[in-house]
Symmetry: C2
Subunit: 181 residues, 2 copies
């Protein structure tokens, strides 16, 4: 992950990784087979550790905790480098494929937040977990990538609320077509 943060995915070399780990290059190849598999495994491990999937007992606090962990990760030099490396590598078919695999694997893990919520009756059973998590995470990723807006301390909670409730204000009866009767 240090090599990844320093050089980006496209310029990461197994020789460099082996040297940092104090092992022979062949040892790395024997275990991971290819540079892409090594990068994928490293990214998955780092995000497992850096962005754990919460289980607070309620979907709102689960989503807020997940967004908070992602925001924290993206604020570190490593997290920022990884997401930028992913953005830069999307032209390379092999690296883009690694990134898609990474994303799907993370999504499958984090999707449990939505599935548990559906079991508890907090969300409809047919909720698209992938799109739900993307809606939660994408604003944090674009702020890290594009740097156009700082991440305010309450943004993770606000995003969780928006993803769950939407913009329309039903609580005060101000919305339209609410389906509440």
């Amino acid at each position: 992950m240090e090599a990844l943060a320093e050089h980006g995915i496209a310029r990461l070399s197994i020789a460099d990784v082996a040297a940092r780990a104090g092992v022979n290059e062949t040892t790395v190849y024997r275990r991971w087979g290819s540079r892409e598999k090594l990068v994928l495994d490293a990214m998955l491990t780092a995000s497992d550790e850096g962005i754990p999937v919460p289980d607070t007992g309620a979907v709102r606090t689960d989503l807020a905790a997940f967004a908070r962990a992602l925001a924290g990760y993206l604020a570190t030099p490593l997290g920022r480098s990884v997401v930028r490396a992913a953005a830069l590598s999307s032209d390379d078919p092999v690296l883009a494929e690694s990134w898609r695999t990474f994303w799907q694997s993370r999504l499958a893990q984090a999707g449990v937040i939505v599935r548990r919520a559906a079991e508890r009756g907090e969300l409809p059973a047919d909720t698209d977990a992938g799109l739900a998590l993307e809606l939660l995470c994408a604003p944090l990723q674009t702020r890290a990538l594009l740097g156009h807006r700082p991440v305010e301390p309450d943004l993770p909670e606000r995003l969780a609320d928006l993803v769950l409730d939407g913009l329309r204000d039903r609580g005060q009866g101000g919305g339209v077509g609410l389906g509440c009767s």
Copy 2:
């Protein structure tokens, strides 16, 4: 915009732009003063033309039309290049400042969607227009930047629905704490 798409913001030169336009470099400098101002003006013009702010009479169709136009723009080589150039330039303070100015200017324009909706009583008066549009646009931007998921034809409409209604299914009374009574 051609030069920007070809070279990215950081490597765009006024000499190249002047040559493409068939004018003298000094003409470009006289009119725009700096490379950054030129890029900013070009990006604003391109996005004004490529992603017009709709006025369909209802917030749901306005948001869907805006998301559809953005998705279409990001699917062009130019749109993709511009958003990638922005991601790459966020380390450069001057370019990052241009991007922030661009974003705020676009936001002020597109924010009228939310303000009109508030006037029509479709949204609460205190709706954060910036965050609402970010929630709508960020998934499209991350898919363009990270290439981890293709943009399905119905994604703009689904995003508009999610941003307005959230994940919770109030229509069938399945949600919790809806404030409907």
